[in-house]
């Protein structure tokens, strides 16, 4: 086994993703199969190979620090599940 049900449960907490008991069961099997498949990468010697994060080699892109017109508060809040006084509203986080 590449991954256990307990590990899958741990990863679901890291991913902030609630999973049902059935989902945990099926994901354990599926992730195990996929991790078994990707194991083949370990057979390649990559000693001294520089990792590729981006296909097109590029340096940091800078731009002038200028003030530009952005969204109004109304636009920014237009899709909010809950909003009040120009802010996104969530449940109480400090007891």
């Amino acid at each position: 086994m590449k991954i256990t049900r307990t590990e899958v449960e741990h990863v679901s907490r890291l991913a902030r993703l609630a999973l049902s008991a059935e989902e945990l069961d099926s994901l354990t099997g599926e992730m195990d199969a996929i991790l078994g498949y990707v194991e083949q990468l370990a057979t390649l010697d990559t000693e001294g190979i520089v990792p590729t994060a981006h296909a097109v080699p590029m340096e940091n892109a800078f731009r002038p620090d200028e003030v530009k017109v952005g969204f109004t508060a109304e636009q920014a809040l237009s899709n909010a599940p809950d909003a009040a006084e120009s802010a996104f509203r969530v449940g109480r986080i400090i007891e």
């Binding site: 590990e7 902030r16 994901l27 390649l44 990792p51 590729t52 296909a55 899709n79």
Partner: protein
Amino acid sequence: MTVYDLTLAELRAKLDKRELSAVEVTKTYLDRIAATNPALNTFITICNETALAEAQAADQAIAEGKAQALTGLPIAAKDIFNTAGLRTTCASRILDNYVSPYDATAIARIKEQKAVIIGKLNMDEFAMGSSNENSAFGPVRNPWNQDLVPGGSSGGSAASVAARQAVAALGTDTGGSIRQPASHCSVVGLKPTYGRVSRYGVIAYASSLDQVGPVTRDVRDCALMLQAIAGYDPADSTSVNTPVADYQSNLTGNLKGLKIGLPKEYFIEGLDDDVRKAVEQAAEKYRELGAEIIEVSLPHTSYAVACYYLIATAEASSNLARYDGVRYGLRAENAENLVDMYMQTRAAGFGSEVKRRIMLGTYALSSGYYDAYYLKAQKVRTLIRQDFLNAFETVDALLTPVAPTPAFALGEKVNDPLQMYLSDIYTIPVNLAGTCAMSLPCGFSTDERPIGLQLIGKPFDEATLLRTAHAYEQATEWHKRKTEF
């Protein structure tokens, strides 16, 4: 010949000669969509009102002599593009009610030309899938045979163009998501070089792999669409500030001196016989047209799928962290606390493939596994990219199948994620390498399923890629076959 059978270039000529108006063309397409969408499920949103208003504005521009290549032409966009004032769902329940406050750059550019946005297209949720079965709005059906998948993730883009519900469409390609559905639906699809087209306003899946591209009836239309959307955008710092060629004027039909490589690792066991035959015949056609065909090697090909499913899922797990129920989209009710709200929102909003990829990616990035999985995959990516750069020292383009088989049946692979992933084996390496590639029709299987040819070009040399594709298209009739739909 009805209006919706005309290509983009043909319609342009008729609009410019005032033989048709943009309003007439748009109405024809809206009627066609209304009649065919219930069976195909290609559209998530149909822009009945806004499209007619845009068509009127286009007719005004044409009357004033201000027409550009796309003015007045009905174009549909995958529902992954932000489109100001329109619902943008990414085929996910988590964005069910999301209305874009702004336009993606690719949308803004076709709007600048006064193209008509006719609707937003179905897709695999968050562009994750190869069959368009992972949509919260139900699967798209292949217009050539409704029992088949159209391919994915831009299944709606390819199916809508094949069914002549739009003159052209925009899609995105992270591991084959434009090319594979284009192949399965017998239309032309182009994934430009990473950095060629701005990703600004495109809902992110895997940011180092995602690229925007057109789906069209033929290669000339593809050149016109790419011309409209290509080029540097200050709003996307990964778009590259390099000159954009005049793609249409490059379609000369001349292949003299062109060297085309056949990567031997792409013609192996698991490749369907009909696909192999069609692609080999295409290579033979290129030889007749004056190109030199050379066998080349891309030795790390077999590692590409494994490499991709670590890198793409890792990036996805990070990108999709933004769907937390706070600023937009779904929010779960009755959560016990903030973390519980996040967890319940995401559980209710994401479909099973999206959950699977978030989980895989989170695992690959988690403490203790990062080096073995994510970092290792990034190193293998270097080797895969180097394979292509080496091959391009001797050839100008590569010729391969797009997919190992023609379109498969709906439901055939839904319960086996790994088999589904392996259907992208010939398209994924191109995204890892970051170069450009396209799919164009090259035949049909014995049971009448479309087959596509993949041409892979040098980085930022879309002009040669399109010229190579166009010469083949001119010498064959495959692109003229239409669905009976």
